[in-house]
């Protein structure tokens, strides 16, 4: 049996998406900048895709700039807003639980003349909008807070933070890599100026994403060159990828309600089942969380061992334990919500998708308690 429960890491490309992409590798292979019909065919597909993607977040197509994915979009938004608006100030506000693409970009700016405020979060991982308000100074140029956290699934009060930034005249960026296509997004209602998205988290291909850049935003290009993407991100467009991404967005919009209901039902079943394991708990907010995200802690055991035993049983999962990373530090998100490093080592993230079934969840609930028990039996921390 093979059960994939790591949808926050990546998803399988939807069959319909693949079908939509295929013609753009050979029959319709043109360069969208060419004047002949091959080029025009590609250009038409590009612009149609832009419209589809824009619709999903209630943006104007002109505000969607295709990129290589979430990391590029985050890097671009943060570094270029900072450098382009340096005359206004040198202060950036973010949170302690951001994705590394955001945190590392902010740290880079911190080493290059900018001041960065890293806001704390509560025990559920929520940023307090009042903290954002208090942190804004005359020299603040950008606030960047993620829409939902990739590890614990907590959804942030983006609308309120956006309102504050609008009032204060500060640019607001949100990393929405985990939320686009999964929860409704309206960039106008949310008052965001910039929003990052990645295709492969919503059943589209890897290597594609976009940055939403609100009309009138002062930002330098990500890549200079032939003037593609409104002179903001040059380079011949990845038409097949973009067409696939747009198809994935179209399906996400069409099926959103159904998917949310399905994932939530499975997640609830999983959470109920896991809660029977002694000395374990759910991380993140009990309600304000992504429908398909679950993140648990099991005391006295270590995550990597847990993940590999699950893998032996055919279950693909993820952990915030240091032993699974290159840094040897446990997850910055789990420590930011107040977990001790020891407890953070014992975390398990199971993220559900549209194709998971109740039977699969029951299988996990069947094998997981025994694995936890066996690891505890050999742990010096257990039963002390």
């Amino acid at each position: 049996m093979k059960i994939y429960l790591d949808h926050a890491a990546t998803t399988a490309v939807d069959k319909e998406v693949i079908k939509a992409m295929l013609p753009y590798f050979d029959d319709k292979f043109g360069n969208a900048s060419s004047l002949h019909q091959f080029g025009q065919e590609a250009k038409e597909a590009l612009e149609k895709s832009r419209e589809t993607v824009a619709k999903l977040i209630n943006a104007d197509p002109r505000e969607i700039i295709f990129t290589s994915g979430g990391t590029e979009s985050d890097n671009w938004a943060i570094k270029k807003i900072a450098f382009t608006n340096e005359d206004k100030g040198n202060h950036i506000i973010t949170s302690r639980i951001e994705h590394h693409a955001v945190l590392e970009s902010c740290e880079f700016l911190g080493k290059n003349g900018f001041k960065v405020t890293y806001l704390p979060v509560d025990r559920y991982g929520r940023v307090n909008p009042e903290d954002v308000k208090k942190a804004i100074t005359k020299s603040t140029v950008l606030v960047t807070i993620m829409h939902a956290n990739n590890e614990i699934g907590t959804i942030e009060p983006i609308e309120e933070i956006g309102k504050i930034c609008k009032e204060k005249g500060v640019y607001f960026h949100t990393d929405a890599v985990q939320t686009v296509g999964k929860v409704p997004i309206d960039v106008k209602k949310m008052n965001v100026d910039l929003l990052s998205c990645s295709s492969h988290k919503l059943y589209g291909p890897k290597g594609v994403g976009f940055l939403y850049v609100k009309k009138g935003t002062k930002i330098a290009p990500m890549i200079h060159g032939g003037g593609h993407e409104f002179c903001l991100r040059s380079g011949t467009e990845n038409i097949a990828g973009i067409v696939g991404f747009a198809k994935a967005c179209e399906l996400a919009q069409r099926d959103m309600e159904k998917r949310v209901k399905h994932e939530k039902k499975l997640a609830d079943r999983l959470i109920r089942g896991v809660s029977k394991i002694p000395e374990s708990w759910l991380n993140g907010h009990p309600e304000k969380r992504l429908p398909g995200n679950t993140n648990f802690c099991f005391k006295y055991i270590e995550g990597e061992s847990l993940i590999l035993h699950l893998d032996d049983k055919g279950i693909a999962a993820s952990t915030g334990s240091a032993c699974s990373t290159k840094s040897l530090k446990p997850s910055h998100v789990l420590t930011a919500i107040g977990l001790s490093p020891v407890d953070a080592h014992g975390s398990l993230r199971l993220t559900l998708g549209k194709d998971n079934t109740e039977k699969e969840i029951d299988y996990v609930l069947d094998v997981l308690p025994k694995i936890v028990e066996d690891l505890r039996k050999i742990s010096p921390l257990w039963g002390k």
């Binding site: 270590e302 061992s305 590999l308 290159k326 080592h345």
Partner: protein, 128 residues
């Protein structure tokens, strides 16, 4: 990422668990870093020499931590204390057909744990 041998020991570790009335205990590691090992030993005299009659390890940690715990018991069981003291981290890593570089340092604690357990035994013995 891990060798076949590491995965073999991780999946069915040898001699992991608790020991009643051990002759020596060696505690090593730090749970904050994600690895903690307690090594228990039982010693008996054979032909005038102190022999490791039994070894058990309790481990909190990653795959490498569990595999090295298991491997130290294979390498040291039945050995004299003097022989066991000579077992190094590198001996364990080679017996496991290698460890990822990052794990060589943080999770390969079993040899040190065993040496501590022997030290503990010898200290207790001199007290008596």
């Amino acid at each position: 990422m891990y060798s076949k041998k590491v995965m073999e020991h991780f999946r069915s570790p040898h001699n992991l668990g608790e020991m009643k009335d051990p002759d020596g205990i060696g505690k090593i590691g730090n749970p904050v870093c994600g690895d903690l090992m307690w090594v228990y030993i039982k010693v008996e005299k054979k032909n005038g020499k102190d022999i490791l009659k039994d070894i058990k390890v309790k481990t909190f940690g990653c795959v490498a931590a569990i595999a090295t715990s298991s491997m130290i018991t294979d390498l040291a069981m039945g050995k004299t204390l003097e022989e066991a003291k000579k077992i190094t981290r590198d001996n364990i890593a080679s017996a496991l057909e290698g460890l990822p570089p990052i794990k060589m340092h943080c999770s390969n604690l079993a040899a040190d744990g065993l040496h501590k357990a022997i030290e503990d035994y010898e200290k207790k013995k001199t007290k008596v």
